[in-house]
Symmetry: C2
Subunit: 161 residues, 2 copies
């Protein structure tokens, strides 16, 4: 399940198409990518089995769900407590993403809250209560943009083999 084998240009086009529209039918995907339908089925299955495509999901605007306050929270962690602290962070409500990083802090956590009050509670009551958390800093997110095409953008200027 962890080949890093062969993702050819056709696979790249499949991924690009499915990232743009995750509910695309296999038929229109196949014709859009100029392969047969059977081939499309086989490739999609292979991409899922090999762990390249990990799933499909609906993209949601947090503000429209009443989650108007987003923030990054940097977390400093005591030595040798990475794993349990990261697990604890993941189970805090409002936490969307936990990244362990190499910086003057150790983890960068993305949170989605209803309002400043819930953010305060999340940071001060939930995150700082985790054993092993030494310090936090909170950076409010004013505006955010996702680039849809990072996964398949580079034209692979290296003809490596």
């Amino acid at each position: 399940m962890t080949d890093r084998a062969s993702v050819d240009e056709v696979d790249q086009r499949i991924i690009r198409a499915l990232r743009a529209d995750g509910r695309l039918s296999v038929r229109s995907l196949a014709e859009q990518v100029h392969i047969s339908r059977a081939n499309a089925y086989a490739r999609i299955e292979r991409l899922r089995d090999s762990g390249v495509i990990t799933g499909f999901t609906a993209e949601v605007a947090p503000e429209h769900l009443g989650l108007g306050t987003s923030a990054y929270v940097s977390v400093s962690i005591e030595q040798n407590t990475w794993k349990p602290v990261a697990a604890a962070l993941r189970s805090v409500p409002c936490v969307e993403r936990v990244a362990l990083v190499g910086a003057e802090f150790d983890a960068l956590v993305t949170v989605r809250c209803r309002d400043n009050h819930e953010l305060r509670d999340t940071v001060l009551e939930q995150i700082q209560a985790i054993p092993g958390v030494k310090a936090t800093r909170t950076w409010l997110i004013f505006e955010e943009t996702e680039v849809h095409d990072w996964a398949t953008a580079p034209p692979a200027r290296d003809p490596g083999r």
Copy 2:
């Protein structure tokens, strides 16, 4: 297209189901959520039109696409140049996300690169070349976890109205 009106518990269940599996058929979604198929169609359309659901996409593991090096890059920006700089950042290859934040820096950029060399190029040649960018700092991402359920997790403990 920007109501923040009524997202009831049924909508929440729909969103949770579609976040877990973005390719769920409307039929199985309807029975899983205990509504009629016609109702499911109507609600999905409403959630899309109102901007709550912004799209559907395939989730991809960057490492399996040859993008083994991920990083956060903090960017300090000259006063009054937010907009063009943010736009320029978004058009840099390897950039996945641009967030404007309130911190000692102004933007936090997520990048996905093949290797350290491409990261170096992205940061030093592409990002620092943008007019208005004053300084950057790069934090390597060692490990990263997405929490799938932030959008519908909180049980809304506040009976606000």
